[in-house]
């Protein structure tokens, strides 16, 4: 009697085990197919990335950029005199100076020297009334608005030094 019961139990266990194995097998097949699909998708994507990279390479080609820059901008090759090192920058205006003076950069430079000393950034004569309109380098490029708390006073002076360079041949 017990033996027979055992037989039935074993048979039941066998059926269950078979079903379980079948499920695992089925699952793994599904997973494998999914994997294969993902792999082929990956491959596809990689091919597309390669094609896009090739296209980007074409668009980013220096010759093309140069032609476009010549046509649409007034940029010029950089001259050796336009480089400088960071340690030769003037000091950042201190908070005190900024609080005391509403023109911190101007306060930093000060006006001890007479204006006839011409430097790279101070042209020969600064007109008393600084031009209100800042000449923009590229007319069709929007100039970011100068926020009111940053005084634009030194900007025209700097721009005047650059401006002749830019306007020399406007038909380029």
């Amino acid at each position: 009697m017990i033996l027979r019961l055992l037989n039935f139990v074993v048979i039941g266990a066998l059926v269950l085990a078979a079903a379980y194995v079948y499920r695992i097998k089925f699952d793994s097949t599904v997973q494998a197919e999914h994997l294969a699909k993902l792999r082929s998708e990956q491959r596809h994507e990689r091919d597309r990335i390669a094609a896009l990279r090739a296209e980007w390479g074409q668009l980013d080609n220096p010759a093309r950029i140069e032609a476009l820059a010549k046509r649409f901008t007034q940029l010029k090759p950089i001259a050796p005199t336009q480089f400088d090192t960071l340690d030769r920058l003037p000091e950042h205006p201190s908070d005190d100076a900024r609080a005391a003076n509403d023109d911190p950069i101007g306060g930093l430079i000060g006006t001890p020297e007479p204006l006839d000393s011409v430097t790279g950034t101070i042209p020969a004569s600064i007109p008393d009334s600084a031009p209100a309109a800042v000449p923009s380098i590229a007319p069709d490029v929007a100039v970011p608005a100068v926020s009111p708390d940053v005084t634009p006073d030194p900007a025209p002076a700097a721009d005047e030094a650059v401006a002749p360079d830019v306007t020399e041949n406007p038909d380029q």
């Binding site: 494998a32 792999r39 082929s40 091919d47 094609a51 390479g57 074409q58 220096p62 050796p80």
Partner: protein, 583 residues
């Protein structure tokens, strides 16, 4: 007991025929019980074997079929010709693979050849109808009809539903920068095998074997990074094209070499070709003049002569050599381009580019020393780089006094220009000869490969002479402010039909920047430049190669990260004085 045993012991009555049969089969006194047990055992064994085979096969199927689905080759791109991407030193793509559909046919499976020809030529007008018909009528199993068709064409042909016509996705090499980088990269054939340049070198590195084994299907190969800088390459090429047009030269070539690592940052030989259109490369005028051409480099070789003399210690910068009269040797006269009619010091010989002076220096050193020095600097052997194309220098078979005299000022020995660049770079960088490379290389790697050829002091003196030559010598038109260029010019009469031509010259210019802390060496070479109105009828190097070199430096120096330094003192203070300090 006997009552029970009796019926068992009694042998059951059997028909005599059965008894006879059993006796014939098993013998007279066979133990049937033992036999039966043995038979059952045998049956168990047999079943066990069968079932274990089934079990093992099941396990195998379970394991193997899984991996098979993973590695299943996607139908439609069976051809294993993937190549690694080629990048420049900043990671810009120079060459990459793009998948393009190609059209093929299986003529045996075609039903109606005429219909197929008609429909295919309608979609692909550039297909030759007679040739197509011929191919489709053949009894072959597989023919290519057209490689590299557009996706639109593919979908149209697909929708015609022709039997026996199919598509395969193939890797096609794409060079997004076109002719910008041509000779360095080389090109591939229709089957994506490298034919020239770095592409061919890649095949030699085991890629060809991978292709043969059909393993190079995937894009996962690591990209190859070159030493080339695309931006510098463009600037150099642009200036060379301008120069070639301006001086109506038949060719213009240039190299930028990092003297500390031997990396070739840029190499252009104009006219060049578009690697996307490899047919152009067959044109013999488009060869790479820097590695496959050999030229007499002219006065730039005086740098070798002077370096040899200074390095020997027998000659100093203050030594004087007689340049009063043209030098006679046999029936040859050696003249100076601008005769000075007096004794010249070594710096004067260098800056006036005096042939007579250079010849005297070389003769003072002796033939053997001269030859050994040039050999040491790699000027007499074929220079091998990654590029498969290289040319052997033309060295005189019998090297006599006359050879030493002429080679002292750059005639009578033809070298590949890249080779000369390598030699001059060794004179500039402190005296280490580095084999040039097209691949990215670190300074530490370069040092392990380098070979000391001259003393560091000699190198400093050579840089002083190069700088002096720009300050007040033949190369003054290259003095771009801020970059402290040093340079040596060279103008060589070309050999036409075995004689030196009076009209055709090859001009070159070697520039080192900055001369006090050398980083890069630039070579500009113009083949048969002509005089222009601005050059007052001159076509020597100082009037064409040198201004070109200056223009190139002004453009590439910011790209190479060289900081301009204005108001530097002249060469004798900047280079010679610092050399004495360091001693």
């Amino acid at each position: 007991m006997s009552a029970i045993a009796e019926p068992l012991l009694r042998v059951p009555a059997e028909p005599w025929r059965q008894r006879l049969l059993r006796r014939l089969l098993y013998g007279r006194d066979a133990n049937r019980g033992a036999k039966a047990r043995a038979r059952v055992g045998l049956a168990i064994m047999a079943f066990a074997v069968v079932y274990s085979i089934i079990a093992v096969r099941l396990v195998m199927f379970a394991v193997v079929s899984d991996s098979r689905t993973v590695h299943r080759v996607v139908s439609g791109d069976a051809i294993a010709t993937a190549r690694p991407d080629i990048l420049d030193r900043n990671g810009e793509v120079l060459a990459t693979d793009v998948r393009v559909p190609s059209l093929y046919a299986e003529p045996r499976r075609l039903i109606d050849v005429d219909e197929a020809v008609e429909l295919l030529t309608a979609d692909l007008p550039d297909l030759d109808a007679t040739e197509l018909r011929e191919r489709l009528s053949s009894k072959r199993g597989f023919v290519w009809l057209k490689r590299d068709i557009t996706p639109d064409q593919q979908s149209e042909i697909y929708h015609q539903g022709l039997p026996g016509i199919g598509f395969l996705n193939e890797n096609k090499r794409d060079y997004p920068n076109g002719a910008e980088v041509s000779h360095v990269l080389g090109h591939v054939n229709i089957d994506n095998q490298g034919i020239a340049g770095i592409e061919k070198w890649l095949d030699g590195q085991g890629l060809a074997a991978l292709h043969m084994a059909g393993l190079a299907t995937d894009r996962l190969q690591t990209p190859v990074q070159l030493a080339l800088d695309l931006r510098v390459q463009h600037a150099l090429r642009d200036e060379l094209i301008k120069a070639r047009a301006k001086y109506s030269a038949i060719a213009a070539a240039g190299v930028v070499l990092d003297v500390r690592t031997g990396e070739i940052v840029s190499m252009v030989s104009e006219p060049d070709f578009d690697p996307n259109n490899p047919r152009e490369a067959l044109d013999p005028t488009r060869i790479n003049r820097l590695t496959t051409g050999v030229y007499e480099m002219g006065s730039t070789f005086k740098a070798f002569t002077v370096a040899m003399a200074l390095d020997s210690g027998k000659v100093t910068l203050k030594s004087m050599f007689d340049a009063h009269n043209p030098m006679h040797y046999g029936k040859f006269d050696i003249h100076d381009f601008e005769p000075m009619q007096r004794a010249l010091s070594v710096p004067e010989i260098f800056t006036y580019s005096s042939n007579i002076g250079a010849a005297h220096i070389a003769m003072a050193m002796g033939i053997d020393a001269h030859k050994a020095f040039l050999k040491k600097l790699g000027q007499l052997d074929r220079l091998r780089t990654e590029l498969p194309e290289s040319a052997e220098p033309i060295v005189p078979k019998r090297w006599g006094e006359l050879n030493t005299i002429t080679i002292a000022f750059g005639h009578g020995l033809s070298v590949a220009p890249l080779q000369a660049v390598m030699g001059i770079a060794a004179l500039m960088n402190g005296g280490i000869l580095l084999p040039p490379t097209f691949l990215k290389r670190s300074e530490a790697e370069a040092q392990s490969l380098g070979k000391r050829v001259i003393k560091p002091e000699t190198s400093a003196m050579m840089r002083y002479l190069m700088r002096l030559n720009v300050e007040k010598g033949t190369a003054s038109k290259a003095d771009v402010p801020g970059y402290y260029i040093g340079g040596k010019t060279g103008t060589a009469d070309k050999v036409v039909f075995g004689r030196y031509s009076n009209t055709k010259v090859l001009t070159d210019f070697m520039a080192v920047l900055p001369a006090d802390q050398p980083r890069y060496l630039l070579l500009i070479m113009l083949d048969e430049p002509h005089a222009t109105p601005e050059s007052h009828g001159f076509k020597t190097s100082g009037w064409n190669a040198v201004p070109t070199g200056g223009a190139v430096v002004a453009r590439i120096a910011p790209l190479l990260g060289i900081q301009p330094r204005l108001d530097l003192p002249p060469a004798d203070q900047q280079i010679l004085a610092s050399m004495k300090e360091s001693r």
